[in-house]
Symmetry: C4
Subunit: 191 residues, 4 copies
């Protein structure tokens, strides 16, 4: 089965998710600088989520770039990932509006955690199809960044009930680590 | 007429439908666990509809994969299917908010029924173009799953006025049956 | 310049327009049959607009199918058409909510008229590039349906202030005329 | 790395941005001509932003048309541009609703300025990959229009606090200058 349509569909869903978050940016009531202030925290949460969705799109792009075909299980593993990503706009808005209260901060981490988990399932579904000697397997290597993410998100969820600001810092730090371009697959392709 | 653009358009519409349902997930009023509770039923309805839209996308993907060309009648049969699918977010939200009241549960089943019916029309429009000896005709076979769906959705609509929970269980059961990958077309292609 | 990306962009915008109208279908307040009733007129307006957007997508599909390349003027003529189509959801909702009051019915006709006009400009921009002997020119012929549309929409706008129901009937009639598949280009291609 | 998927993703995001602005066009309360009047300023702001997004799509189209491949840095520079464009619907609505108050007018200019800056970064990221002798470098030339834009948007932001109508006129003038087709790249391709 070709990969063209699963890429197109994923591009569509991710494009909508990343843009829909804008709708959460409510227009201020007044028209002066003071009325802009309450939008601030939601805006920061929006920027963080924009970067996370961008990271997922980049990784998704690289992941499907290195394989030639997909099977039915991959279609569903991909939909499962899109499901968790599609929850990001709602938890982003809750996080921003609550000024980082405990539950919204924890739930934001849960969605990040489940998305990371769904990505892990997707990668391993594709690995099962392509085998341990495939370009995909070599490109992934030991996937240290993926494993670190799970630990960091988990810590974020737990800490949200004690020090939500530390959770937010952890989420931001992990985004920064991912932003540093993941050259594994690019290196592979150039060899 | 090539099938590329009808696939791209359908991917776009289905991607929007599946993501728009997120917008129905209203952010809770408060910021504690208790304020999350009313979101629960809407969330469950959202998950069910997400799976249904995913099933339709998968089946749509397989259906157009096996044919080489489309005609004008197929364009309209496809739009007719997209029309019913595009009503899913609205009835999903009504179902979730009503905590499975009779009419919302029945209407949800009506939309599932009409979408199944529209899919049936789409398949038969394509069969008329490709003939009874086509790969499509052999892949479809007797379409037992499609016929079972119609019966189950009909039962769900009727039962909604007596035992709405049974209707919801039927809708969920049918989604589970569809989730079991439909290997008919995949088998065909591998032969 | 290739036509692939202008097709993809138009597909995206039209897919969003056709799906966004769903968001206008507000979920009823109550959960019984009576609470569904106010949704009725909006639903009818939605169906009509869905068919109109479907017609435009079909015609757009055929139009770009017959040409091989586009120029900068076509990009803007196409954006101009998309602009008027993107106003359809708003006027559809106004029409439905007003139960066909004079101004909403007239404005709906104005948007149909401007979209028809924008389509006319788009076609003629492409004709200027491809010349009077092109396949496009032969396929279009005298474009009687396009000219009839303009007259019918104009009549609808004027009659909206006297007999809005007649306007709505005219809009519906014209949609039905367009729905009868336009075989001109298909014929051309088969020859 | 191929450019197909970055084009498709950008098309998706830009298509959603341009269409989402419609959602900001609130349906009037009443159903007569008077109730349409408050929609007027928002409508004008919408038209201006529609043209700006159209200009960015056109320039983006031309920019990616002239290159053959993209790298990881381009993916992120492109996402950065999409981020600022995705803020346009919100500031458009704020501008329209405020009837051009100082802060909304200034903020609109800030978003235009940041989008122009992001486009500049994108172009220069691509130039670094392709070198000063590439078709891209020759097509861009001295980029006088891009530099003029930055000056005009900056002037608009400052003037918003004194003469907001002049700012709006400047934004409109700059859109008109961009609308005049940028034939640089088209010329290049024809040579």
């Amino acid at each position: 089965m070709g990969k063209g349509r699963i890429e197109a569909f994923s591009d569509g869903v991710i494009a909508i998710i990343i843009t829909i978050m804008v709708l959460e940016l409510k227009v201020p009531e007044g028209f002066d600088l003071a009325s802009l202030r309450p939008v601030g925290p939601v805006f920061c949460a929006y920027v963080l989520s924009f970067i996370y969705v961008g990271i997922y799109w980049n990784n998704h792009h690289h992941l499907f770039h290195i394989v030639q075909k997909v099977n039915g299980a991959t279609l569903w593993a991909n939909l499962h990932l899109l499901f968790w990503l599609s929850l990001l706009p709602a938890v982003t808005h809750w996080l921003g509006e609550s000024h980082m209260a405990a539950w919204p901060t924890a739930l934001y981490g849960v969605v990040l955690l489940m998305a990371a988990f769904a990505y892990f399932i997707l990668v391993h579904t594709m690995l099962r199809q392509h085998g341990p000697d495939s370009a995909l397997a070599r490109a992934l290597g030991r996937d240290r960044k993926g494993k670190l993410s799970v630990v960091v998100y988990l810590a974020g969820v737990v800490l949200a009930f004690v020090l939500p600001w530390v959770s937010a810092a952890l989420y931001t730090l992990m985004a920064a680590i991912w932003l540093v371009p993941d050259r594994r697959i690019e290196h592979m392709l150039n060899e």
